[in-house]
Amino acid sequence: MLKIKNLKASINNKDILKGLNINIKPGELHAIMGPNGSGKSTLANVLSGKNGYEISGELKYQGKDLKEISIDERAQKGIFLAFQYPIEIPGVNTSNFLKTSLNKVRKARGEKELDTLSFLKILKEKSSELGIDEKMLSRQLNVGFSGGEKKKNEILQMKILDPNLVILDETDSGLDIDALKIIADGVNSSRDKKKSFLIITHYQRLLNYINPNFVHVLSDGKIIKSGCMELAEELEKKGYKKIN
C-alpha cells in the first residue's frame, strides 16, 4: 500500500525528516509514536501532499510516485488524513461539505454521484454507528465544535469516504475517555483486509483499544525502533529518552 524509503523532508531549510523508512501492507495498522518535534505531523503532511516542503527519497502509494500527485488527487485515490486540528470553515454546512467531498471521491472511483436523499441515508447510518448527534451535521463545518466533536467529525468523514490509507494525526490528543472509545470503535469497525492505517500518537492509551500490528518510534526525523504492542507499553513506562 505505502512504501517509504529514505524519506527526507525540510521546510524553510530546516531538516525535519532525515531518512525515514516504512512499509505498510494492505490490512495492516501501524502506529507511530514519538516525542514533540520528532516529525510526526510533518510525516502526515508530506503523505497528504501539503505545500511548502522540500522532499527527497522514495514515496510510493499503490506503486505510484506520490510526489507527482496533487493533494486533491491523492484524496480521490483514497488517502485520508484525520487532522490534528480540524479546520473551521464558516458558512459551509457540514453535511453539504461531506456530500461534495464524497461525490468527488466517488467520481474519481468511477462510481455514480449521489443525490441528496441517498447521501443523507448513508450519513444517517454512519453517524448513528458512531453515536454522533445529527444536529452537529447541520452546523457550519467545525465552527464552534468542541474538541471532541471535531475529532468525531473527522472519523465520520473517514467512514463515509471509505479510503484505502487512513492517517490519524494525533486524533486522540485532548479527548476524554468516551470520545476516545468512539474514535477507537470507528477505526476498529473500518479495519479490513484491504485498508491500511497509520496512527500517529503521543500515548499508548488509544493503542490499548485498537491493537496495532506494528509500533514504530520516531525520533529526530528517523524511525529508531520498531516492534509490536510491547514497545508501546515499554515507552509508556520508560518515556522516550530511555529508548534507543
Partner: protein, 478 residues
C-alpha cells in the same frame, strides 16, 4: 490562438453578440437626441419637458470624482443614447411577434421567454439595449391588479402613476449620472402593487447590452401601495468588447404604509479582459423611500461583473418604524474595481437599518465599501447594525472600508463591525485533502463567507448566484 479564444469564452459565457439590425438615435448628447427618444417612444409632452429640464440642469453639473476607482474621461458626444432592434420599433403586442433572434438570445442567456418554457413562478421583463422586448405572465398579474410592464408602456398607459412617483425619490436635481439618466433614459421596468396585494410571483428584469458605442440608461420604478409585498430581481449581461460601455441606471422604490419591497440584483456585466481592457462602467443610482409607517425595503446585490461598479443602493426611512436592509456581495478579480455600499437615512422614529457587506478581492482588483448611516434629530430610538467583511486573495489586491456615521440624537444606537482577512491556506489544504481541487475549494470557502447575503436571494436565483461566485474567482489562486 484557437485555444485562447475558447478560454476567454469560458471565463465570460455571456460574451456573444447578437447580429441584429437596429435603429439608433443621432450620435451624441443633445436636445435632438432626447427629442428623438421621446418621439420614438410616443411619449406625452410632459415627459419630454421633464427630460429637457433634466438636460438643462445637466449643463450645470459636473461629474463627481471623489470615488476610489478612477477612469478615463467619458466623451458623451461619442455615444449613442438609443439603440433598439428594428423589429421592436413598435413594441410587439404578443410574444409570437417577437423577433426569433431575440428569443434565441435570451434562451442562450438562460431566460426562456416562450410560453411553454417560462421560468415557473417568475415573471420576466426582457430589456435589450434601449427597449423592453417582452414581458411574461402579464395576464396573470393583471388579474390581481398588479401592473408589471416596460417603463415606456407605463408612461403611455399609466401616466398619472408615473407622473406622481417618477423623480420623487431621485429628483431631477440629483447628481450628474442620475440627472443624465433622467434626460436620456430609454426603458426599464415599471411595477405597481395595489393595496393589500401580495405579489404571487417573483418579478424580474433581465438587462442585456448588445450594441456597441451605446450607453444603457434604464429607469425602473416600483411602487408598493399600502400593505402590499413584492420581490423583484434584476440580472444583467453584455457582450465582450474592448471598449468601455456606460451603464447609468436609475432605480426608484416607494413603499407606502405597511408595504414591503425586496429588490435583488445579480450583476454580471462584462468585466473586461484579464489585462483590464474593456468592460462595463456600472454607475447606477438606486434609492428607495420607506414613505409609510412600518414599511420595509430590502436591497440584496451580488456584484460580480463590470470593469467599475459604483453604486450605493439606499433607503430613506421616512415612516415611523420603517426598516431598511442592505445585503451585498462585491467580487472583484483581475483589474476590476468596485466602490459600493449604501446610505441609510433615518428620519422617522423607531426606524431600523441593517447593513451586511461582503467584499472579495482577487488579482489586481480593488474593492471599497463606502456607506453612510445618518440618524436624524427626530429619528428617536433608531438603530443601525453594520457589518463589513473583506476577503483578500493574493497580495496584489486591495480592500477598503469607508463608513460615515452621523447620529444626531441620543436615544439611537449605531453598531459597526468590520473585518479583513486573507483566504486561509489551512482551509484550502483541508478542502483539498477531502478531494476538492483548488478552484472548488475557493468557491466553497467564498460561498461560505458570503452565506448571510446569498440566503437573502430568492430560491430560484440563489443556486445560480452561488455558481457565479465560484466562476468569477476562477484562476485567482494557485
Amino acid at each position: 490562438m484557437k485555444n485562447q479564444n475558447i478560454n476567454t469564452e469560458q471565463d465570460y459565457k455571456y460574451g456573444f453578440t447578437t447580429d441584429i439590425e437596429s435603429i439608433r438615435a443621432p450620435k451624441g448628447l443633445s436636445e435632438e437626441s432626447i427629442k428623438f427618444i421621446s418621439k420614438i417612444k410616443k411619449e406625452p409632452k410632459w415627459m419630454l419637458d421633464w427630460r429637457l429640464k433634466a438636460f438643462n440642469r445637466l449643463k450645470n453639473l459636473k461629474e463627481p470624482n471623489w470615488q476610489k476607482p478612477k477612469y478615463p474621461k467619458i466623451n458623451y458626444q461619442d455615444l449613442y443614447y438609443y439603440s433598439a432592434p428594428k423589429s421592436v420599433s413598435g413594441k410587439p403586442k404578443s410574444l409570437d411577434e417577437v423577433d426569433p433572434k431575440l428569443i434565441e438570445t435570451y434562451k442562450k442567456l438562460g431566460i426562456p421567454l416562450q410560453e411553454q418554457k417560462r421560468l415557473s413562478g417568475v415573471a420576466v421583463d426582457a430589456v435589450f439595449d434601449s427597449v423592453s422586448v417582452a414581458t411574461t405572465y402579464k395576464e396573470e398579474l393583471t388579474k390581481k391588479g398588479i401592473i408589471f410592464c416596460s417603463m415606456s408602456e407605463a408612461i403611455r398607459e399609466y401616466s398619472d402613476l408615473v407622473k406622481k412617483y417618477l423623480g420623487s425619490v431621485i429628483p431631477l436635481t440629483d447628481h450628474y449620472f442620475a440627472t443624465l439618466n433622467s434626460a436620456v433614459f430609454t426603458d426599464g421596468s415599471f411595477v405597481y402593487i395595489p393595496p393589500k396585494v401580495k405579489c404571487p410571483m417573483e418579478l424580474s428584469t433581465y438587462f442585456r447590452i448588445n450594441a456597441s458605442e451605446t450607453g444603457q440608461f434604464e429607469r425602473t420604478l416600483i411602487i408598493a401601495d399600502k400593505g402590499s409585498y413584492v420581490s423583484y430581481l434584476e440580472g444583467c449581461t453584455a457582450p465582450m468588447r474592448d471598449e468601455n460601455q456606460l451603464h447609468a441606471a436609475n432605480v426608484e422604490l416607494v413603499a407606502l404604509d405597511d408595504a414591503e419591497i425586496k429588490y435583488s440584483t445579480v450583476q454580471n456585466w462584462y468585466p473586461g479582459d484579464k489585462n483590464g481592457v474593456g468592460g462595463i462602467y456600472n454607475f447606477v443610482t438606486k434609492r428607495g423611500a420607506c414613505r409609510g409607517k412600518n414599511s420595509k425595503i430590502s436591497w440584496t446585490q451580488v456584484e460580480t461583473g463590470s470593469a467599475i461598479t459604483w453604486k450605493y443602493p439606499s433607503c430613506i426611512l421616512q415612516g415611523d418604524n420603517s426598516v431598511g436592509e442592505f445585503y451585498s456581495i462585491a467580487i472583484t478579480n483581475n483589474h476590476q474595481k468596485a466602490d459600493t455600499g449604501t446610505k441609510m437615512i433615518h428620519l422617522g422614529k423607531n426606524t431600523k437599518s441593517k447593513i451586511i457587506s461582503k467584499g472579495i478581492s482577487a488579482g489586481k482588483a480593488d474593492n471599497t465599501y463606502r456607506g453612510l448611516v445618518d440618524i436624524g434629530k427626530k429619528a428617536l430610538n433608531s438603530r443601525n447594525y453594520t457589518q463589513c467583511d473583506s476577503l483578500l486573495m493574493g497580495n496584489k489586491c486591495g480592500a477598503h472600508t469607508v463608513p460615515y456615521i452621523k447620529n444626531k440624537n441620543s436615544s439611537s444606537i449605531v453598531e459597526h463591525e468590520a473585518t479583513t482577512s486573507k483566504i486561509n491556506e489551512e482551509q484550502l489544504f483541508y478542502c483539498n485533502q477531502r478531494g476538492l481541487n483548488q478552484e472548488e475549494a475557493v468557491g466553497l470557502i467564498v460561498n461560505g463567507f458570503c452565506k448571510e447575503v446569498l440566503q437573502q436571494l430568492p430560491m430560484e436565483f440563489a443556486v445560480e448566484a452561488q455558481k457565479l461566485v465560484g466562476i468569477s474567482l476562477e484562476g485567482s489562486v494557485g
